[in-house]
Assembly symmetry: C3
Homo-oligomer: 507 residues x 3
């Protein structure tokens, strides 16, 4: 059913949402402004890793994965964590499953790692990662990598059904005979998390930048359209609408305990909540390439404005950073940073030649207790009580806890959700980062305790800024009249007959 | 005496063999077929490392080692082990002893390593490896690196005798004052190991391939000839024929406890057994270069068929893999794999620019208990009881537990004793391996639970297959009539007047 | 005051020296010859690291550091130690503080490291290194990185004073809230250490080489001049002459306990002793570039005699090795070795593209107890009681305990205080070292148990020897008559009217 009827899925979900009284997009008013409230809710580690694994499953790929060869195999996302560091963000490639990718990429470094999969991995991957000595294997309790839903279809062959069942049985055998913990790690969100994420996503620097640039466009409306689209897509991929089928699937996967109430409803609610949250974060950086919006070289001429990484990959990485930002310890502003590099061997990973170098969010020094350090900002209290001298910035954490060394010959890229400040700029350059993808909303500003004066002058590092594509008139004319939604609502073409803002981006 | 009279040695050994009632080549009938029996005997870890150290001493080298400079210094092989991983396979070079090679190559990584030497290392090497913090130093109880046998000769100078004795004394002083365990680690073989190894060596894929290609040649006979030759050579290098001299040597090396009976006889028996076993394994890949047999590019034209590594080095590496295969946990078929790469700095090791990347054999996941997983194959039991979904292949273990990273610019080579299956082929490519040396006996076959269909289509990796050299007619004519044995019996030229098979390879 | 009145400082110090009855240069006679005495005193680890951190602050740099931008920030030296290994020797660069350099260079490797700073680091550096998980932060109790002395000046702005005080307060907050030990680690020197270092510095190979080459020059006199100059300079940089100001500074830095007697006097005495010792060691390799003395290619023609590292950097590295030599375990001759390489990324460190590979001194194997091994040399006892077979040479320790791998493409350099012996020469080459900086005083000599015959023949490694610059007549004429002191006494130009040796180097 998965790939057939998006509209139906959406209606289903809407109904459920109403039934269960959960939040609805149109309700996302600004009743509570987290910027006034102070401390926003945080993601737990486990939920962060889970969300990142789901998101990695959607890493943009040129080649279709497993499309012809074996229809029952699903693409899978994977997060590899060692102690407090994320060592790798992976996804299945045309040739290898995510678990195999981890074995090839990390080898002996997998020892004592925790692995978070967006699907229960197949038994071949399981045997290899168990063999490598991992500590923990967590997976999303939806359709597994060797799809039980697909093999369940009437159209599927007896062979593939048998294969899926033998695989599930072998996975259970491996689980019972091996040392690593293996199971489902999902945690309920903080009660106000959903709303907080939606509001901060709708008002983040990327949205603000567009609102500033294009005062005639209703950016909030654009955000809501993207949000609907993302919810549809993500639900289709990660949720199992039919309860009976979900129960059957959990049973085959050895998760019988989850099939009884109230655990079953709780599980499904958590899954829905996380998918919805991911949709909100993904909407914070809208897909509006067709409208000429994206990451382009700051002050660049038209010839060299484009980065050598596609816009959809940049967007994916920025959303990774956005997710990380929701684990901030900063009382007010969460910032996330991810560093990727173009490596040598690009044959194996679903991310191609790109590999993760490090990632981080802003926080007090590792090991500090809650409330131990000053927390006020420059609008409150005296200078001795302010947070600025104590918070480690996202970029600093990404560099400090990097999982591989940065090499000169690899074009290392930093993706960060806010403009780097003067404390970080020289470190970014010294660390050997060659490209920064960010917004420059704060660039050139100087506040009392933090300033952003050095970013513009940063030499030897290319700065790709979220902005409209610097373009010649002719290009603009060629694209001529189109609506904001054109670029980002391909899947909902029927619904684009709804009243849409007629404001033109090129006007 | 060592280098003077091979024939005498051989007679000696024959006599002993008879006296002690141990197995003889010609007795190696197929009374017990291990393929029917089920579980074959396994090598212990300690014996595997010891055998690999002996074999490494014989790594083919262009330059003679220590030939002019210092006659009393013997070439030495070395295996460096950390936890369950082999970090390095080394041997003395023209400039450095094996222990120094290990210090230069591994430096701080030697901490807590176990070192297995093919000879007791000299005191200079000992002080450095003790200083590096190794845990264990094991050595073969034959003539040490600073040869006590050579210095014992009448022809040797008083200086070199004094030097050898001062060195031996210093080594004992270092042993008594330092933390690492230092001594002789040899274990008796399983009672049927010798026969099992001989039979499986005689019937392995390399032998079968020749038998298939050359039905007119008696491959079994060829194997036996190689076996005799190898036994002679290895005994000459690693055993001390004369009991009195061996006792004297053990005494000087501080191994007095081994000089009393029955320990002395036991020690000598274990040494003979291991040398004999090594000879059997070495014979499984015959030296028949002159007969045009070797590892050549699969489907290659005559111009680019030759690998850039010499045939004798390839053969050495394949025999390393064969040794590893005898530690398999697979109930029936042992497979071994070794990965070597061409590094940057090739000044120091006896292996030149080649350095070990990793090695492995097929086994159940690390940490599993005996008999915990299904063990049947596709001829027995139902599919749920079969081993295939649980066994980690030799190539997978070599990649997973690699000791260094594979780099694009280094031509990384995999040596594996059986054709890689469809599960391994994409991982081999993704890992960055550029050349595979193997047999293709199974290539193209598909069994119920395991298939070999993808190896032939493997792109971007050169496949060097054990086969006859693809050659033009003229080359064949130039080599003109010769016997199978010509190429491999240089050392036994007198004996080649024995009745030999007159079947010509070129006929 | 620091940079204004060197002469006054010197007088101050002289007076103190007399008052406190401590050693004076002109008293440095050879009453006790440590070469006859046997065991010399050793530096403690903590003092060694502290001295290295002070010395690193003085690493020669082209660009002035922090000169315009922020006058209150002082350059700082830093030594990063993990277990018994020095991982890094750093100093502030034009863009980054030393602590930031360590974060960028080492990242996650900083976990459980000990850091020795030549000044108390600023709060920004502190938060980052605490965050990185270091174990210990030790700093020299002089003026901190954000100078309290400078901000104390009448000329300094209210802003910079406030900044310095907020920074000091934040540093104390970080100290009280974080896990790593943070404080002052200084230890009293052994009672005869000062004299021992002065005498061995005055008679080391570098001095002897000059004495041999230039019999007409009074090398001892040259040494004493350098010593005076170095004492002046180092005292100006590292000591706080005025007691009241020092007390005020310690109080602001949270070191109130050091302000009471007798702790205050003791602290100042230890600081003076260490600065004086550093001055002695620094004088062992005199700055006489103008006199045509330096490190030049052995046997090189005039065209390629110069290394690509400036002479002042070479001298700095040799002095690092000299400091290490004072932790020798050898009963008579201390040797130190430092390996540096030219890395890829040279943007961040005050050492430019150079980074430390490893360092060591000669010692018995790690883990051995005092007096466990023979200690005599070739002038005493029989050959079995001699030290030679047990001592690990400085070069061997530097290679064994290296902190990064040596790469072919990086021109790796070894700086060693004595000519490498025949045991080390092949290891140096095999390790991939491309350049050696040393003296060749022993080269070509053969003693009973140790020989230096292979150094001259060492191929593939450039040997830069402490010697007079091989020069053409014309160059010599151009430089025309000058005195020895010209090159090295720029700061004491007034005093160069003192009676100086009129012997000309070019005569």
């Amino acid at each position: 059913m998965e790939a057939t009827d998006a509209t139906e899925t959406r209606r289903e979900l809407d109904k459920k949402c109403v039934t269960e009284g959960s939040y609805h997009v149109t309700e996302a008013s600004s009743q509570t402004d987290p910027k006034v409230q102070g401390h926003g809710p945080r993601l737990s580690k486990v939920n962060l890793y889970t969300l990142l694994s789901l998101w990695m499953e959607l890493f943009p790929q040129k080649k279709a994965v497993f499309s012809n060869e074996n229809e029952v195999t699903r693409r899978t996302g994977l997060v590899v964590v060692h102690e407090r560091r994320i060592l790798g963000l992976h996804c299945s490639s045309a040739e290898l499953h995510a678990g195999q990718v981890a074995v090839v990429k990390h080898g002996p470094r997998l020892t004592r790692c925790d692995l978070y999969f967006s699907r229960k991995p197949c038994s071949t991957c399981l045997k290899m990662i168990i063999n490598a000595g991992v500590s923990r294997i967590s997976y999303w309790p939806g359709d597994p990598e060797i799809s039980l839903l697909a093999s369940d279809e009437a159209s599927s062959s007896a062979d593939s059904r048998l294969e899926a069942e033998l695989d599930a049985a072998a996975a259970e055998k491996l689980k019972s005979s091996s040392r690593p913990y293996m199971g489902v790690l999902l945690q309920p969100l903080a009660f106000d998390m959903q709303q907080y994420v939606e509001e901060t996503s709708a008002s983040c620097d990327f949205q603000e930048k567009m609102a500033t640039d294009l005062p005639v466009v209703d950016v909030g409306d654009l955000f809501r359209q993207q949000l609907w689209q993302n919810r549809d897509e993500l639900s289709r991929v990660f949720l199992v609408v039919d309860e009976t089928r979900h129960r059957g699937l959990l049973t085959k996967m050895g998760l019988v305990t989850f099939c009884a109430e109230p655990y079953f409803s709780n599980l499904r609610q958590h899954m829905r909540d996380l998918v919805r949250l991911l949709a909100s974060v993904a909407s914070s950086v809208p897909r509006v390439e067709d409208a000429g919006y994206g990451f382009y070289l700051k002050g660049g001429s038209s010839t060299i404005t484009s980065p050598n990484v596609p816009q959809d990959v940049i967007r994916h990485c920025i959303v990774q950073a956005k997710l990380l930002a929701y684990r901030t310890e900063d009382p007010k502003v969460g910032v996330g940073a991810v560093i990727w590099a173009e490596g040598q061997l690009g044959l194996c990973d679903g991310t191609g030649r790109l590999h993760l170098v490090g990632c981080g969010y802003n926080a007090y020094p590792v090991g500090s207790e809650y409330g131990e350090y000053p927390q006020m900002d420059d609008k409150q209290g005296d200078r001795q009580s302010r947070k600025y001298r104590y918070i480690i910035h996202a970029e600093q954490n990404a560099i400090t806890f990097r999982s591989v060394e940065i090499k000169e010959e690899q074009g290392t890229m930093l993706f960060v959700t806010k403009c780097p400040c003067d404390e970080c700029v020289p470190m970014i350059r010294a660390a050997g980062i060659r490209q920064v993808y960010t917004t420059d909303l704060d660039s050139g500003k100087k506040k009392n305790d933090i300033s952003y004066l050095r970013f513009d002058g940063l030499q030897g590092v290319q700065k790709f800024i979220w902005q409209r594509r610097p373009q010649t008139k002719s290009v603009c004319e060629k694209q001529s009249p189109f609506t904001v939604a054109n670029g980002c609502m391909k899947h909902l073409r029927q619904e684009s007959s709804e009243p849409l803002p007629s404001k033109r981006l090129c006007s």
